[in-house]
Amino acid sequence: MCPARLAPMNASQNVILLTIDTLRADVLGCCGGHLGLSPFIDSLAASGMRYSRAQAAGPYTQASFPGILTSSYYLDHQDHGKGRTLSRERVVISEPLRKAGVATAAFHSNPYLSAFFGWNRGWDVFYDSMQDQVSDEVPFIQAPAINARVDRWLGAHAAAGRKPFFLWTHYMDMHEPYVPEQKHVDAVDPGLRLSSQEMLGLFKNTLLPRDVSDPGKVETLRKLYLANLRKIDDCVKEFFDILERHGALEDSTIIVTSDHGDEFGEHGGLSHDGCMRSELLHVPLLVLNAPGSPKGVCDRLAGGADIPPTILELFGLPAESRFQGRSLLSPDDEAARGVFSEAMGKRGRQKDTDRPVYCYREEDLRVSYLAEEDRWELFDLAADPAEKRNLMDCSPRAGEMKAGLAPRIDRKRT
């Protein structure tokens, strides 16, 4: 049930989408974590709506972002191979918005979402950082530099006469290689002292080969990841300070989410591969400062693909027929159906021989199909949050759940 209903905004209001790459939900205090590393994000959650059952459309960026920005699924189109450009069949949320007169701006540094791969459609301003210099230690433009661009754009936008805007900002700072500053490591474990070369060594020799044989190294990787959370929480605070300084906070509905989580050996893996488990699929989803300031925790199922239709409805714009998600503004009973995720079942680098993995969630049941092994899995996420007991052969709902997913498997792709 949801404590309050979201409603469309008045004209002249804005939508801001803040996505944080690789942020798993359970490390946040607001999502039940006990680490105390995310005080600002936790305070945001307390001020708005938090969707406690939000599931990414896929377990890594290429599989998830078609949901978040195009309300479609990764395997809908054959544009997911090496170097293929985003299919024209997908509608980027920026496209209908710009057509409707909304100013659209994007600031990010994820190469998989770059102009080269076709994600620059429909944006008035699209910054993907690909022409900027980065180091080996941190091979992406970091959140403070992204924030500086947002700051400059908001200033320019305000000066240019302020039509409603849609701003998408994405941070890469949680993503491997984890090379946090010592002050952020101290917040997690003051006894942990590693040089950046040692951190890169863990990245190259343990994380990249997905070597979980040494639990000590896996635990160190987890701590370095958490240190990045301490950093990103400050960056999110800085982002909100910038919005406030430009007067953009009061006029905007802000959606905060992640594209996927990260694994630390829970199911034998590291980083984020084609594994349909909660450490990768359970993401935070906050809707802040929506009209009427609804607050609380909403337990309706929400998927990444629900974000674009939500944005259209917030702006009071007509629904886009090619969007496959459901607006979060729609009544709860419409959300009773489940949510899907899908990906190629890669481990480490993508290979031509990778086979798809699909999953479908209803309430707390999640069914998956792994084409590689022709295997079905069914987990009860409430009773078995660690996803250790496959109920496929014993649950009375197994057949029904399988039927819910079946139409997506081996469907025709264009």
Binding site: Y112, F117, M130, R152, A156, L208
Partner: protein, 283 residues
């Protein structure tokens, strides 16, 4: 130059283009207020965007009776003959001072041959330091290309930085555009680049920021601005010779500009993206 193609624009469209040109002249005016002309350079690649910027600069200087800034072009070792000819012909015709930048050290090490192996140890200390700086310090040799990650850095970025430093350049005009960009403040036209490890501080000025690809073509054809004949053969964007492609035989200005990406034929975007993915461990 191919025969001048016919272009028919509405009076409204013409005044729109004139307003865009006037806006660019305003930016040139601000630049001349901020910097003496000797400290300014016009980056001129011979492509349609920088040639438009140069043409507007020339019109501005003639109106104000000011001297033109020196132009600067980079020969990355893989240049189209058609571009080379346009640069030389119009530098002469318009009486421009045109400086050429080259990374002679790398060209020598490659024997002026594309795809030839370059031994890193045979390069100058500066070039070796640059290779380390971009995180390729493990490399002992690489094939010479203009638009690979390493080639792009050595043949363009390094040459540009060295030129700025040697000549004491304080600001450069670039033909960069923000396509279909809504109104922006003037701040966006001036980008102060702070000094870095091997980068001298300078200001990048983008006088045609507000032109879209369509605007560039309409202005080029309407005002009779010279352009490289390769565009008439279907090229939309010209980079290095061996890595620029065309998707169509139709002249660039007759293609459906909105439906196809301008830089689709360009290698350097791919290289930059692939390099990031490699560093993230994905390649």
């Amino acid at each position: 130059m191919p025969e001048k193609p016919a272009v028919r624009l509405s009076p409204e469209r013409i005044s729109e283009l004139e307003a865009k040109v006037a806006k660019s002249k305003e930016i040139f005016g601000q630049a001349y207020d901020r910097f003496p002309v000797g400290d300014l350079r016009m980056i001129w690649s011979g492509g349609k965007d920088s040639t438009l910027a140069l043409w507007i600069c020339r019109a501005f200087c003639r109106e104000r009776k000011l001297s033109m800034p020196t132009s600067f072009t980079i020969d990355e070792g893989d240049c189209f003959e058609e571009i080379d000819r346009l640069l030389r012909d119009y530098a002469r015709e318009w009486g421009l001072q045109l400086d050429w930048g080259r990374n002679d050290d790398v060209l020598r090490a490659a024997g002026h041959t594309l795809m030839a192996d370059v031994e890193v140890s045979s390069l100058s200390e500066r070039n070796q330091a640059e290779i380390r700086r971009i995180g390729m310090g493990d490399l002992t040799r690489f094939p010479f290309e203009a638009e690979s990650y390493i080639g792009n850095h050595l043949m363009k970025t390094v040459v540009f930085n060295a030129y700025v430093e040697e000549k004491g350049v304080r600001a450069v005009f670039q033909g960069l555009r923000w396509d279909e960009q809504a109104a922006r403040t003037d701040d966006e036209y001036f980008d102060d680049v702070p000094a870095g490890e091997l980068t001298p501080a300078h200001t990048r000025i983008r006088p045609i920021l507000h032109f879209s690809e369509r605007d560039v073509w309409d202005a080029t054809l309407h005002f009779g601005i010279p352009f490289c004949p390769l565009y008439a053969q279907g090229y939309r964007s010209l980079g290095a010779k061996t890595t620029s492609g065309r998707l169509s035989d139709v002249p660039a200005w007759e293609q459906n500009l909105a439906a196809t990406p301008e830089r689709a034929g360009r290698r350097q975007d791919k290289e930059a993206t692939m390099e990031r993915l490699r560093k993230l461990g994905y390649m």
